[in-house]
């Protein structure tokens, strides 16, 4: 009686380890294609909703920042965006805060990570970069929209209807999403960047999120410039240039991606070999 009750949890644990050894999907995580579709889809939906909101309330309540309607419709949108940002940051950084337990079990029990399992991790990393790229697409749209809106209304606030999605949604979202990419690489695929058991921080981890950070940092400088020196919105003026320099840091995202490419081929090759030996055995 006592013996069986002792052995049951041990047996269950053994079964769990057996399962984890064979686990080919990124265990306990959303599959990467679903992450891409869900993350990209929700992100795109948020951008489209903001643009529809602008189409509705652009002229009716967007012209004068001192009115109560402006506070309701435009600052209201701003606060909604902040809630979304905080939620995205909390979910993104807590979901991937620990290294993958399946990887750890496979490494200790089999001496290697299952190739298909690791491919799922690489796919997830790539998907986070693609979702960040989607918010980059949003920056592309809202930044030039800002140039057009400044021709309609003389600047009377830093929270003008075109700044609300640009400076206070897509810029911070880029910091969060590129940060999640680096965070994911650090917690799941660090061995690809520094070698097995290696230490250190690859530069691309830091430079990729630095793009979003520098974009946001130049918001401060830009608003200072517009409130002190030139209120006119000449788009080619020098204190807009750092926005362009900031975006160049996103090239580091491709360093982050392409570092994993040789491993993708290795893993695909290993999977092909596994498949061919399996068919050999059955035949």
């Amino acid at each position: 009686m006592a013996a069986t009750s002792m052995s049951a949890p041990v047996e269950r644990q053994a079964v769990q380890i057996e399962e984890t050894k064979r686990d080919k999907t990124a265990h306990g995580e959303m599959p990467f294609m679903r992450f891409l579709i869900l993350g990209g889809g929700l992100g795109l939906l948020s951008l489209v909703l903001i643009r529809l909101w602008q189409g509705e309330w652009w002229f009716p309540v967007g012209l004068d920042a001192t009115t109560p309607e402006f506070a309701t419709y435009w600052l209201g949108l701003l606060y909604v965006e902040w809630v979304v940002l905080i939620a995205a940051a909390i979910i993104g950084f807590t979901a991937y805060r620990k290294p993958c337990s399946t990887c750890a079990v496979q490494k200790s029990e089999l001496g290697r990570i299952d190739p298909e399992h690791e491919l799922n991790h690489i796919g997830k990393l790539w998907a986070t970069v693609a979702v960040a790229a989607m918010f980059g697409f949003g920056v592309s749209y809202f930044a030039e929209q800002d140039a057009s809106w400044h021709q309609i209304v003389v600047r009377d606030t830093a929270f003008t209807p075109s700044h609300i999605p640009l400076f206070f949604y897509t810029f911070p979202m880029l910091i969060i999403m590129t940060g999640v990419s680096s965070w994911y690489a650090y917690n799941r695929l660090h061995h690809l960047y520094v070698g097995e058991g290696g230490k250190g921080i690859p530069l691309c981890y830091l430079l990729f999120p630095a793009g979003g950070w520098f974009l946001f940092a130049n918001v401060a400088f830009n608003e200072l410039g517009h409130s002190s020196w030139i209120t006119e919105e000449l788009f080619v003026q020098p204190y807009h240039f750092p926005f362009a320099w900031a975006t160049y840091f996103f090239f580091a995202g491709f360093a982050l991606l392409f570092k994993t490419v040789p491993r993708i081929f290795e893993n695909l090759g290993a999977m092909a070999q596994q498949a061919s030996t399996e068919t050999h055995h059955t035949a």
Binding site: A130, W149, Q151, V194, P202, V236, T247, F250
Partner: protein
């Protein structure tokens, strides 16, 4: 691994998924990066047809556009050995620009589209990629492709600009149609183009003026090509190798 084996791996279901994700990442970042550069360096010259002058636009325009296009051109060749990077970048920067012109300048503020159309760089991007494909040399591409990039910018876009350069007379004054549109569609936050741009003794060279600008653009772009290559190397390739050691 042999080439045929590598190619066979490319047909795997998982490899196809990676292709799609990479394409999405490339589209997003190679829209925003060249587009932000274009709007901040070429900015008002690209937004308004009356700013498309003969002095600064033919020089500032292609130089600004080449910077990030050269990075795309370099990264595509470096990582994927594809002579398509410049064309890809030139296409998606226009997608970004047209989305904004249609849905912001026209869709939200009712500026007519023929007042706010963006300049194209696709023909020169094709020339740049072809030069690299044929020569396999960044030096030859910079000297010929880079020069053509700057040199062809005005002639290529002149086809679209031409109708707006017709003279009109109003209240006894002669304008171009572009200038007249600039006076008609009010832009309270843009300093007017004549005050900022159309100055300088280059006016005295009359008919040669555009050729001087176009030649200068060719030379500037030959050099700008290397700024783009350097940028791609420092931010797109070097961070892959460099690891900050924890002590």
């Amino acid at each position: 691994m042999k080439a045929e084996e590598l190619a066979a791996l490319g047909h795997h279901k998982m490899a196809k998924a990676f292709d799609i994700i990479l394409l999405l990442a490339l589209v997003g970042f190679f829209t925003v990066i060249p587009h932000v550069s274009r709007m901040l360096y070429m900015g008002d010259w690209d937004f308004w047809v009356d700013w498309k002058d003969k002095l600064w636009w033919p020089i500032a325009g292609p130089s600004a556009a080449l910077l990030v296009t050269a990075v795309g051109h370099y990264l595509a060749w470096h990582y994927l050995r594809l002579p398509l990077g410049a064309t890809f970048t030139a296409v998606f920067v226009l997608v970004g620009a047209w989305l904004s012109r249609i849905f912001s300048f026209y869709g939200l503020e009712y500026y007519p589209l023929n007042f706010v159309w963006p300049a194209t760089t696709i023909p020169m991007a094709l020339a740049l990629d072809l030069m690299l494909l044929w020569s396999r040399s960044y030096l030859a591409t910079s000297l010929i492709g880079g020069f053509l990039w700057g040199f062809l910018f005005y002639p290529v876009n002149w086809l679209m600009l031409m109708p707006f350069l017709q003279p009109v007379t109003l209240f006894g004054k002669t304008f171009t149609i572009a200038d007249l549109m600039g006076y008609y569609f009010i832009r309270p936050q843009t300093p007017e183009y004549l005050r900022r741009i159309d100055e300088g003794t280059l006016q005295a060279f009359l008919g040669q003026r555009i050729w001087i600008s176009v030649l200068m653009a060719g030379i500037t772009c030959t050099l700008m090509y290397w700024v783009g290559i350097g940028l791609g190397k420092v931010l797109g390739v070097m961070p892959l190798r460099k690891v900050l050691r924890q002590t």
